[in-house]
């Protein structure tokens, strides 16, 4: 793949809370190529959404980006002025937020929520914007009559589609999807995934797809990144990460999902509980839950390195095994 569409270098994000500073994203680097779907997995609270927010620079107090850069087509989003930022947002990168129930304003018609993004970025008349909105809705399989509806008048799946339609409005190069289907039924989820496949074919955008459902991820993503406690601990080709996970956490994650068709055996998942970002241990963050800890797990932070399988992973054991 040629030049990356989006390149994140050494990005960290902190939350300044009354009880201390929590580093929700720690020194993460990754890139997304044009047309690529990058999956980002990891347990709740590991910093996936925080990373996604950072890309559109949506953080407000008490969140803070102390270091790192986010290069969109080589230009650092973190250094843009207000005007550039506003133009960058949605035109270049749009976001589908975690739950559609909450990302549509309940007292504004979906029509207005669709058109205002068009009007804000393009020199078009209201009529043209409305036509475009109707078209967008039909792209995601909703009748244009629904423009006048309020969000509560639509079902959850429809709302999620409206949000996707809004995300497509300006035909951005990158769409960040933060768990776009977690709140939905499998059937509806499947319908939306199908929609997504079609749209991607049609518009050719890149996707940063965030989810904790590894099965889903394996299905949709080209590459998968796995995060743990703010760190990117493994990243690589989707099928490889899923079938031959390197990092013990990824291994545990993969074996946390019973399958429908596979052999019916006892799975063990990952023992222990998620870590508290305010009380991180020195060394590897995963040490408390890892069965194969070695000496330097307690002292040194592992760094991301290429592995034999082709993926990159950050783990001392892997170094030892080499």
């Amino acid at each position: 793949m040629s030049q990356a569409l989006l390149e994140i270098n050494n990005l960290s994000v902190d939350y300044v809370s009354p009880n201390g500073i929590a580093r929700a994203v720690n020194n993460v680097s990754l890139s997304i190529a044009p047309g690529e779907t990058l999956g980002l997995a990891g347990e709740s609270g590991c910093g996936k959404s925080t990373l996604a927010f950072a890309i559109s620079r949506l953080h407000k107090a008490p969140a803070l980006i102390p270091e790192g850069e986010i290069l969109y087509k080589g230009k650092d989003v973190l250094k843009m002025n207000d005007k550039q930022l506003r133009a960058f947002r949605w035109n270049d990168t749009s976001v589908v937020f975690q739950s559609a129930m909450n990302s549509l304003n309940p007292v504004i018609t979906i029509g207005e929520q669709l058109t205002d993004v068009i009007l804000a970025h393009k020199q078009v008349s209201l009529k043209q914007a409305n036509e475009k909105a109707t078209e967008l809705l039909s792209v995601v399989g909703i009748h244009g009559d629904r423009l006048k509806s309020f969000p509560h008048q639509l079902s959850g799946g429809m709302r999620q589609r409206v949000v996707i339609a809004i995300a497509l409005a300006l035909e951005p190069k990158l769409i960040i999807m933060d768990e776009p289907t977690t709140a939905l039924d499998v059937v509806v989820e499947r319908e939306i995934l199908n929609e997504l496949y079609d749209l991607k074919e049609k518009f050719g955008f890149s996707i940063l797809f965030i989810s904790h459902d590894l099965s889903l991820m394996g299905e949709i993503a080209d590459r998968i990144g796995v995060m743990y406690a703010g760190n990117l601990i493994e990243i690589g080709d989707a099928k490889t990460v899923f079938n031959q996970p390197s990092h013990p956490y990824t291994k545990g994650l993969v074996s946390s999902f019973p399958t429908i068709h596979g052999p019916k055996e006892r799975l063990y998942g990952i023992p222990g509980d998620p870590v508290n970002l305010l009380k991180l241990p020195s060394g590897c963050n995963f040490q408390a839950r890892c069965n194969d800890c070695v000496e330097n797990c307690k002292s040194d932070e592992p760094i991301l390195r290429a592995q034999a399988s082709g993926v990159h992973a950050a783990c001392h054991i892997l170094e030892v095994q080499k």
Partner: protein, 312 residues
């Protein structure tokens, strides 16, 4: 074992209190003021320099070493009066607050917890009370009862100030009522009374306390208001009656500003202090409202980060 358990609990409570005040200037200022005022009221006989009910000097003596806050038209010591007045005014306000909040809790929780017909009726009554103009009602009732001592005012304020609290508590109870921990207590076989008292009520503490403070402020103001309108008992020493006497003796026109301003400021500071505490409690029940010292840290770090990036 039990002992250990208890002291741990106390330490926890203490820690919670400290956390409440830490980096929270409104809470500190409010708490401090309120404590001073409460102490003044509690130890009025100790601090008072004169008998508040007795003529101790010529009328309208300006503040001096002997009469710290001057004397009234009747030759009574304002400082001693304001201390003893605090007792009466605060007793009225706090008792009214307790009465009102007790009714509010009883009505609100029953209404929210039992739902159905009970809720419909209680809610209806609450709404009727809510729309009935309270102050005029108070004025008329006070006039109706003729001789209105502080007891009557307390009861009147108490029984008319509850609907707002009841409504808030009802809404909150309904929200909690459908929480799974209540259902699971029911499934477990807990008695209704226990569910209300042990499972629901503790969750309402901050709301109830907030409502209580609000009612206290309101009751204090109303007591003073009724006093000034001449509907209170002018022979008692309370802040309301002090204002009343200041008013009828035209202390402002005659230049004896202290007679009017001292009780007025006493009221103002008490109201203000309680409001600050109330505001801080709001922040506890809704952490989003919290404006703590961490924001200062954030500002500093943000500035540093911007500088590193070469942004202004």
């Amino acid at each position: 074992m039990e002992h250990h358990h208890n002291s741990a609990k106390w330490r926890q409570v203490l820690a919670k209190c400290l956390a409440f005040f830490h980096g929270n200037p409104p809470a500190i200022i409010g708490g401090l003021l309120a404590t001073i005022i409460l102490c003044g009221a509690l130890f009025a006989p100790v601090f008072a320099t004169h008998d508040p009910q007795k003529r101790v000097s010529r009328p309208h003596q300006a503040p001096s070493a002997e009469y710290i806050m001057g004397t009234t038209r009747n030759g009574r010591d304002v400082f001693s009066q304001v201390l003893f007045g605090a007792r009466k005014s605060l007793t009225v306000a706090i008792t009214a607050g307790i009465i009102a909040m007790s009714i509010a809790v009883a009505v609100g929780v029953s209404s929210g917890y039992f739902g159905g017909k009970i809720d419909e009726w209680l809610n209806f009554i609450t709404n009727v009370f809510l729309v009935f103009p309270q102050l005029p009602l108070l004025i008329v009732l006070a006039a109706f009862l003729g001789q209105v001592g502080s007891l009557v005012i307390t009861v009147l304020l108490g029984v008319t100030s509850w609907p707002w609290g009841a409504r808030v508590i009802r809404a909150q109870t309904m929200a909690i009522r459908n929480k799974e921990f209540i259902i699971s207590a029911e499934v477990m076989g807990e008695s209704k009374l226990r569910i209300i008292l042990v499972e629901i009520l503790p969750n309402l503490v901050s709301i109830v306390f907030g409502g209580f403070l609000g009612t206290v402020i309101y009751a204090m103001g109303s007591e003073a208001g009724l006093g000034i309108l001449g509907l209170g008992d002018a022979t008692e020493v309370s802040w309301g009656s002090m204002l009343y006497w200041a008013q009828v003796s035209s202390s402002l026109y005659t230049g004896a500003w202290w007679e009017m301003l001292v009780p007025a400021l006493a009221l103002a500071f008490t109201g203000g202090a309680l409001a600050l505490i109330n505001m801080s409690i709001d922040q506890v029940s809704n952490p989003k409202l919290k404006t703590g010292p961490h924001l200062k840290v954030w500002k500093k770090l943000q500035k540093a980060a911007n500088q590193r990036r070469g942004l202004a």
